[in-house]
Symmetry: C2
Subunit: 373 residues, 2 copies
């Protein structure tokens, strides 16, 4: 085996689709002494984290907590708990993460009814309503609020209104939206929602905040079958993360990552949610203006473009990989490649959380200008 | 909402069943700048982590890697990938984690044949052999190498020999054994094994190293049904963690926790695996001698006692919770409560990884002496 030594990563500027730049305050919090996962002081931290998450999600849902694994496990937690074999789920697909939802439904033994929207466009509300009307036995409407693969915002509020009109539950992917754009779980009537730590919360990757409405909790408690995942069974997890005075061991929480999660939520609280949304919008406008000046085109219509994830068409004649490699090697700047149908066609420039600030925007525009000249 | 501020945990001495004390070197590594999960430098780190894990597991299995979630997800990764509906699995239960294996088998649609050993005792080899002979269609033999709930070591080598004799696969829980006692995946012929970061590796909690033999990989690639978990489907994960030049995005790895994982494996490599095993044994002997001097009794027979997890009978008339609370509050010392059948009857004193050193042992014995007098 070759001689190995400690790993000293360079300081990158992370402007891809996540992880985004992590504040030194969060890195510092994470490096504090590890506590036991049942230590009374850690349990206090868990309770405060839940309150802060309720604020971030704008919900009073009691079952609001971070799952001890990345966003894709948060997605799975929502589907395995709410979808039983034979259940019909209407899934709006307009990118990679919508497709992943379909995979989840099918692996739960559910039947996915799929709306395939064109990549780079929003989910069409009329199509959704037609299908909900046609299939009155649809149990869940599932969609991605902010599609990380395309930079498209779906109209979460309107989709939830439709779901409520047709008495469906909703499962919403808020991995890239939480903390970056308007999101109101209670006002919009969302039943199950998951997010990720490493996007607009600017925390280290590895944690997935989730929230379930009382209606969803009631369904989970009265399932006909056991949840297929032991690790993600909310009926068990609630014994550890719930509000009881005595917490039962379920799994060992990633204690230090939870310190980081707490610190990032605290920073969001200090800034204020609306202020954070506005900061993302301002950052986006500055970036968009700069990109335009470089003759670069944003791929997504202004009306449903995500401020925190800017999808840029790669100009013809420009080598995708070369540009990204030069940005990384010469400028320590990471932007994202296209994913799925968009691979090789677009770049994804993230302005998420701590990464959404003038210093980064200026740096990114200057670096792109040099590399593309 | 009450006024919240940054969380400053006290410095505990962690001598419970895990998490164990984390070295400042590991905490420091974890706080380094976050890289993207597809950054070429991070991918190099992933490759080196896999090599170090092969060393720790004593295996040349190509599919050896850390799962991005705690040990219970590592357990689930082994079961959901190897057990298909209708498969028979012989599970040796002698504690909480054996029971969790049964849960996993059943949630995969498998049929669990269960050997219920008395708590605090080893799995009986004759019973195992009788059942393997009686049920030639058993596909997997599953057992816990080091039962964290009872402090019992099962004879992994002998159990694997039996499994190989009867042409079964093996799934082995090495959460508490890896790095603490002898464990040789290739020599013993283990097919699927999972561990945890927060025990004898003394890393932060949240990561689960796993390893699959080529025989297991072959079965996973040729399943009749899709793996029920998208997040834990090794057929997909291998596209990100595999050895190909081009890594495909699957999920976002917990980058900073992986820095910690790497650093902890590097420390194990520097010390040497055999030296680590011997250090745990020496630590155990010193602790056991000290406990005896305090008239405390170890609950597990010397022949199959775990050095890294010492299960101590609570003397009659002593209040379990009071003692643990005083140790925590007056000495910043965490020891473990009993779990399951052992709740209220025993304490579990961990000597795991970085926590297994004379300073901790002396402190623990002195603190117990004061509190019990």
């Amino acid at each position: 085996m070759k001689q190995l030594s400690t790993f000293l990563p360079p300081e990158r500027t992370l402007m891809g689709p996540g992880p985004s730049d992590v504040s030194p305050r969060i890195l510092n919090a994470m490096a504090r002494p590890t506590l036991g996962h049942l230590d009374p002081l850690f349990i206090e931290l868990m309770d405060e984290t839940k309150s802060l998450l309720q604020y971030a999600f704008q919900t009073e849902n009691a079952l609001t907590m971070p799952i001890s694994a990345p966003g894709s496990a948060g997605m799975e937690a929502c589907f395995v708990n709410l979808v039983e074999p034979g259940d019909k789920v209407l899934v709006c697909v307009n990118g990679v993460f919508g497709n992943r939802m379909v995979e989840n439904v099918e692996r739960c033994g559910g039947e996915a009814i799929v709306i395939n929207n064109q990549w780079g466009t929003q989910t069409d509300l009329n199509t959704v309503e037609d299908l909900l009307a046609k299939h009155p036995d649809i149990k869940v409407l599932a969609f991605v609020h902010a599609e990380t693969s395309t930079g498209v915002r779906n109209d979460a509020k309107a989709l939830c209104e439709l779901a409520n009109k047709y008495q469906c539950l909703t499962i919403v992917d808020a991995v890239t939206s939480l903390g970056g754009i308007e999101l109101k779980v209670d006002d919009w009537g969302i039943d199950a929602i998951y997010s990720g730590s490493q996007k607009c919360l600017s925390c280290v990757p590895g944690i997935s905040p989730v929230s379930f409405s009382d209606r969803a909790v009631n369904l989970i408690q009265n399932r006909k079958t056991k949840v297929q995942s032991w690790f993600l069974d909310m009926n068990l997890i609630v014994g550890y993360w719930g509000s009881g005075a005595k917490r039962a061991y379920h799994h060992t929480a990633p204690v230090n990552s939870m310190y980081a999660m707490y610190e990032s939520l605290l920073m969001l609280r200090e800034e204020g949610l609306e202020n954070a949304w506005q900061r993302h919008q301002r950052g986006h406008e500055a970036l968009a203006q700069g990109l335009e000046a470089l003759n670069l085109t944003l791929a997504v219509d202004k009306n449903y473009r995500l401020p925190q994830l800017n999808v840029v068409e790669i100009p013809s004649g420009v080598n995708d990989a070369d540009v990204r490699q030069r940005l990384l090697n010469e400028f320590n700047l990471e932007i994202g490649a296209g994913l799925g149908e968009f691979a090789g066609k677009v770049w994804r420039i993230g302005l998420m959380g701590y990464a959404c600030k003038p210093r980064n925007i200026d740096h990114c525009l200057a670096a792109l200008k040099q590399v593309l000249k």
